[in-house]
Amino acid sequence: MIKVQNLTKQFGHKRAVDGISFSVERGEVLGFLGPNGAGKSTTMRMITGFIPPTEGIVSVGGFDIVENPIAAKKLIGYLPENAPAYTDMTVHGFLSFAAEMRGLRGDTKTKAVQRAVEICFLEAVLHQSVDTLSKGYRHRTCFAQSIIHDPDVLILDEPTDGLDPNQKHEVRQLIRRMGEKKAIIFSTHILEEVDAVCSRAIIIDRGRIVANGTPEELRRKSDWAGAVTLTVNGIAANAIEQKLNQLRAAKKVTATATGNRVTATVFPRTAGDGDLTREVIEATSGWQVEELRTEEGRLDEVFRRITLPDTKN
């Protein structure tokens, strides 16, 4: 549905987006990750046709966004950053306007507005003016606008920003549900969202794609992938460290003591090595182990490592 080839945007001397290529098919939810200023919003603005690319091609449903913008835009629903909405209108007025702009009239329009209101839980504020809404409601109003014409493609720029935990949960559920039938791109800097919602994630840093894969694949790049954490009672921290360091599959061991109890983590030589867990279990037989678990890898650690190469240790 969405095809992006070698997309580049130059602002003066600064390359905000630098040769990005990817594609999203129907039924996929693509998470767009990256530090602030990495080029997420700029990329989304080019995909939606708000700003023209300096170089590269965007096609949505087969239509080029520069050559054939109106046909492409018809397929897209877009929630811009900060969820802007006409503050002088009521929620109902705003959604009716959005529906009309999408060419919906009469009965179809009424039904479309009703549907969007139900999906986004806006009944309570339907006749309230947008500028009196709380941030969460305003966000959902703008979100409702983006799905009013039941588009095939949804581009959501930080859809959960500024929502409370319950609302975040609802929006994530919503995105996941809609992702079954649509092609969705959404940006976030909340890493749990990637697990909760995405079928695939792309990490962007300084305008380039630095990682692209399923959340599991990304997590496996972490130092933590396959690491073993255990809590032991009654043995000194340095003794534990010494013993575990001798394991064939172990790369590094950290141990911290709290009172009588020591929590140690053994990192694998190769990420995701399943042998390590077995070796640790063998080595600790006879110890008083209270807890032992194999880590899946941490997205935040992967994220930090590939977006900040200078502080890598």
Binding site: G49, I51, K73, Y86, M101, G103
Partner: protein
């Protein structure tokens, strides 16, 4: 193909935005008060004893519009950019010119409404004497066209900046130029300064709204005057589209 529908939708939204905020009411009340005051107190409508509105009523319009029209036009694009709704509007399946024309038409219709509400003046003059209503009608048309030209200039300044105040000030200055270029004291000054370039003085004067409005006030619907106002509007709206495009590319 569906341009008309899009323009209508945008105009409708824009017009309703005027009336859901106090802007519209404040504007109309002030416009009518100013008209009443200047026509009857300053313009000396009764003392003149003529059954016409040219010298007592319409002659003030270029000056009222100087302040009032930029106040109507300043929010058109500046606000849209400040709030971020521009991003919504321009990612909808419409052509940018449809949005520009739609928003312009809404504001122009609003100014037309304010103008129509001055009808008691027409009733008064018809009650007291027997004026040439054709002349009055022509002057109304001219006044509305002139307001449109000011409004289109305000569209440009509104697209230039995010700040409504800056937009207002720049468009007042630009509109002031449109007036002063045909203001007799200024023409005299120019003629004295540039006696070797009388053609230049002529060119500058021809940009004045006052010169072109004068014909309408006399009841003459000269196609050149109509074309002047329409081309100022057309040119300004085109410039607005160029400015909006420039903002998006850089």
């Amino acid at each position: 193909m569906n341009s008309l529908g899009n323009i209508k939708t945008i105009s409708k939204r824009e017009l309703s935005a005027y009336f859901t905020s106090p802007v519209a009411y404040v504007f109309i009340v002030i416009f009518l008060l100013l008209n009443g005051f200047f026509t009857f107190m300053v313009g000396g409508f009764f003392e003149r004893g003529e059954a016409a509105l040219t010298n007592s009523f319409f002659m003030w319009h270029p000056w009222f519009y100087l302040f009032l029209v930029p106040a109507v036009g300043m929010r058109l694009w500046a606000d849209e950019r400040r709030v971020g709704t521009l991003e919504l509007l321009l990612t909808m399946p419409i052509a940018p010119w449809e949005a520009i024309v739609g928003k312009f038409i809404a504001s122009w219709l609003f100014l037309g409404l304010a103008l129509v509400l001055t009808f008691p003046v027409v009733l008064t003059v018809n009650h007291l004497g027997s004026p040439d209503n054709g002349v009055i009608f022509a002057a109304y048309i001219g006044s509305w066209l002139m307001a449109g030209a000011y409004l289109a200039v305000s569209c440009i300044t509104s697209a230039v900046t995010r700040s409504q105040v800056v937009s207002f000030i720049i468009s007042v200055v630009a509109c002031l130029f449109l007036i002063l270029a045909g203001f007799p004291p200024v023409i005299n000054l120019l003629q004295n300064l540039m006696h070797n370039w009388q053609w230049l003085v002529g060119t500058i004067t021809s940009f004045s709204v006052i010169t072109h409005f004068a014909g309408f006030e006399k009841g003459v619907l000269d196609s050149r005057d109509v074309i002047f106002f329409l081309s100022v509007i057309g040119f300004s709206l085109f410039t607005t589209s160029v400015i909006l495009r420039t903002h998006r590319t850089s």
